[in-house]
Structures are given as structure tokens and as C-alpha cells.
């Protein structure tokens, strides 16, 4: 009950920030100094915890890494299904449902990915993307401890995700579904594994970025915002602002 109250307060605060930021450019910051300090804290955390874990994970045999990646990806599809529906994207809805059904059964609880071989490639969708597809702007940009870069819209989306994700219902809210039950630990273990898998996959890219950036904070911000834009548009539309450089 107390948790629900806290969530309501958090949503209200974010809502205010979000609506105040409706006209704000995506590049505008809410509290840059604080965000930079949190970013620094996250980097330290990464150096001491996430990076060594990701490097260890990368040393695992390929079938274990691929299996883990497939498993988290398959569970992640559960969040995409309601979002495909909310976005009215029936084609992707078919891909998500088909992929989840085949990989969970034939693919042994999602450790294998036979759905991809028959052409089912679901996009990852979340509530932040759904709000973006409805035309809501990102609001301002900031960095959260541990979770990293985000915007006002995506933070609201992050909380809303736990309400529309069937896996979150079964685990965080302990609601039984189709005879399946779980607890918060299952949910956070899944999220942590997914994060380690992502960090390990991008280990070299991240190293290269750290080595070659003059201002790593801004590079990460740019990459985050471009990636979210592409995911909302479901395309990799490139910005054509080269026009007046034709010398």
C-alpha cells in the first residue's frame, strides 16, 4: 500500500516535469549538474561491478551466452505484446505472440530461438515507445542512478511498464497467471541478467567510446536519444541536416 502511494507521488512529480517539458527540445537537460554527478557515480559502479561481471560473462562458452540472451529476449517479448496492441501494430503483434509461443515451447523456455529461423523477428517495445508513437515528446533528459540515461517520458514509461508487462504481474505483484507464479526476486534477477547481457554485448563499443570521447556524458546522451528516436519510429531514419555544407 505504501509502495503504491510512493509510486503515485513519483508519477505525479514526473508528470509535472514531463508536461512542463512538453515544449522542451530533446537535448534540454532537467538538472545537468546532478545528472553529470550521477553519471560519474554510474561509471564508477560500472568500473567496479558491471564491467568485471560483463567481462566474466563474455568468457562463458558461446552456447551459454546465446541461450541466456535468447531467454531474456523471449521474456522481454511479453512487454512488447501489450505495447504492440496499444500502438495498433498488428504485424508486430503477430511477430511477438508467434515468437513467444514458439520459443517458449519448441525453443525450450526460450533458450533457443527457432522463431527467428521462420522469419519472426519481434521488435522490443515499451510504454515509453508507445507514448512516443502517440506523439508525446521526450521531455527533458537526465540520468538515473544505476538505470542510466532517460527522459521524462521514458521514466514514466519505465514505471508504466511494470503495470502492462504480464511477467511483472506474475512476479512483482505476485498474481497467478495460467498456473504460473513468482516473486520480485524473479523480476529483478531477470532485469539484472538482461542488463549484464546488454553490457557484455557492447563491451568493446563502450571501451572504444570511453577511450575516444572528449565528453563521454554528451556522447552517451546523443546515443541514447538517437536510439530511442529510432525505436519509436521503428526505423533508422537519418537526420538530413548536412544541406548547407555543400561547398
Amino acid at each position: 500500500m505504501k509502495l503504491d502511494k510512493n509510486i503515485k507521488i513519483f508519477i505525479s512529480v514526473l508528470g509535472i516535469v514531463f508536461f512542463l517539458g512538453q515544449n522542451a527540445q530533446a537535448t534540454e537537460e532537467c538538472f545537468e549538474k546532478t545528472s553529470r554527478a550521477i553519471f560519474k557515480f554510474n561509471l564508477t559502479l560500472d568500473n567496479y561491478i558491471f564491467e568485471p561481471v560483463a567481462k566474466g560473462y563474455n568468457k562463458l562458452p558461446n552456447p551459454i551466452k546465446t541461450g541466456t540472451s535468447n531467454f531474456t529476449s523471449n521474456l522481454g517479448t511479453l512487454l512488447s505484446i501489450p505495447n504492440n496492441l496499444l500502438q495498433g501494430n498488428l504485424k508486430q503483434l503477430g511477430h511477438s505472440i508467434g515468437s513467444f509461443a514458439i520459443n517458449t515451447t519448441v525453443g525450450i523456455l526460450g533458450f533457443l530461438n527457432p522463431a527467428e529461423r521462420i522469419g519472426l523477428k519481434p521488435h522490443k517495445e515499451d510504454v515509453g515507445q508507445t507514448l512516443g508513437s502517440y506523439g508525446f515528446g521526450p521531455g527533458c533528459y537526465y540520468v538515473l542512478p544505476i538505470l542510466g540515461p532517460t527522459t521524462a517520458r521514458d521514466s514514466i514509461g519505465l514505471i508504466a511498464d511494470t503495470f502492462v508487462d504480464p511477467f511483472a504481474h506474475v512476479t512483482i505483484r505476485e498474481h497467478e497467471m495460467f498456473g504460473l507464479s513468482g516473486n520480485s526476486l524473479d523480476y529483478y534477477s531477470f532485469k539484472a541478467t538482461d542488463a549484464v547481457d546488454f553490457r557484455a554485448d557492447n563491451d568493446q563499443n563502450f571501451e572504444s567510446l570511453k577511450k575516444n570521447s572528449i565528453d563521454l556524458y554528451s556522447s552517451m546522451k546523443s546515443i541514447y536519444l538517437q536510439d530511442r528516436e529510432n525505436k519509436i519510429n521503428n526505423s533508422t531514419k537519418e537526420e538530413d541536416d548536412w544541406g548547407n555544407l555543400d561547398n
Binding site: 558461446n62 572504444s208 570521447s213 572528449i214 554528451s218 546515443i223 538517437q226 538530413d240 548536412w242 555544407l245
Partner: protein, 198 residues
């Protein structure tokens, strides 16, 4: 005898130059350039320095570093003095080459494939490609923004890796540095120089 030597040396130089020149068709240009780079960078007989020299050479000949420098400077390119722009361009060129060689010298072998090419205007063609690491890692989509104003000499202006534009990322990084330093181009130049001399 002296004339023959000059003649032979000239032929060698012409041959070398023609070997280094890639096709003027954007699609073939990217294909030839990348395959050449892959074969050189995965050659275990070449030292790190030889690979770095090779990367610098093909970058200087095939990337529009000047335009990239101006693009990443954003609006400030219109209000800065010629002298500042020229200093910035020099620093940017050295920064770009250092960062490129640092990213590519540890390259491991991959399979490269051109998917398509789309002419956006008389000045630009976007060549889409994918690269698959031989160790079985996930394939990466790369779009190449090719500047074709001079149809005989296409130049690379941007790489869009999995939808992320490297030029735009660089531009936003520089914009942030400029914003927090009163839009002073000299501070940006000094930061670029610091990176190069580090």
C-alpha cells in the same frame, strides 16, 4: 639509364595510385574500400603502426574530413573567424585520425556485404551494408552517407551504425563542450589538441 629509372619509378607510382583509387560508383566505392580495409586490417603480418598508417592514408583520401569538421562544429562555423576555423580544422583532422586508428587497429576479421544504395540527391547517396563478425557475434547494419557532388570522387561523410550517426554524436558532443564554455571555439580546439597529445 637515368631516364629508364625515372620511367620505371613513374610507372610504379602511377600503378600504386591507380591501385588505391576506388570506383566512382558509391556502392562499388564502399565495397572496394571496405574489402581492402578488411584484408589489410586482418593481415597478421602487418604491425600495428603499418595498420595505423594504412587507416590514415585511406581516411585522408576517402573521408571528407573538412566537411565533417564543419558539420560537427554546428552553427558556430558561420560566426567564427577564418583563422579560428582553420585552426579548428587542423585540430579536428588530427583528432579524427587518432580516434579512427584507435578504433580500428584492433579490428578482427568480419564478413562485409552491401545491401543496397539509395540516391537521396545529386549530393548524397546512402549505401546500406551489413557486417558479420566471423566469431558469430550479431550482425551490424551500417549505412554510409556518401557525398557525390563530384561524381568522379565520392567521399564518406558519415557512418550510421545501427541507426546511430557517428557525425551527429560527435556534433552533439562538441555542442555540449561549447555550451558549457560560452561557445568559445578555442576551448574546443584546446580539448581536441589535449586528446591528440595525450
Amino acid at each position: 639509364m637515368h631516364r629508364i629509372s625515372i620511367y620505371i619509378i613513374s610507372i610504379i607510382i602511377i600503378l600504386q595510385t591507380s591501385l588505391l583509387a576506388y570506383s566512382s560508383d558509391p556502392k562499388n566505392f564502399v565495397n572496394e574500400l571496405v574489402n581492402d580495409a578488411i584484408s589489410k586490417l586482418s593481415d597478421k603480418n602487418l604491425t600495428k603502426d603499418e595498420k595505423a598508417n594504412f587507416i590514415e592514408k585511406i581516411a585522408l583520401e576517402n573521408v571528407d574530413i573538412n566537411a565533417l569538421g564543419l558539420y560537427t562544429l554546428g552553427e558556430l562555423r558561420k560566426s567564427s573567424s577564418e583563422n579560428d576555423i582553420s585552426n579548428y580544422q587542423n585540430s579536428f583532422k588530427r583528432y579524427f585520425l587518432k580516434s579512427l586508428t584507435s578504433r580500428l587497429t584492433d579490428y578482427s576479421s568480419s564478413k562485409f556485404e552491401i545491401i543496397s544504395a539509395e540516391k537521396k540527391s545529386t549530393s548524397y547517396t546512402i549505401v546500406s551494408s551489413k557486417i558479420s563478425p566471423i566469431d558469430g557475434g550479431p550482425e551490424i547494419k551500417i549505412d554510409w552517407r556518401i557525398y557525390t557532388k563530384n561524381p568522379e570522387k565520392p567521399l564518406i561523410r558519415d557512418l550510421i551504425v545501427e541507426g546511430l550517426s557517428l557525425a551527429r554524436t560527435q556534433k552533439e558532443e562538441f555542442a555540449s563542450i561549447l555550451n558549457s564554455n560560452n561557445n568559445d571555439i578555442r576551448i574546443l580546439i584546446s580539448k581536441l589538441d589535449e586528446f591528440v597529445n595525450d
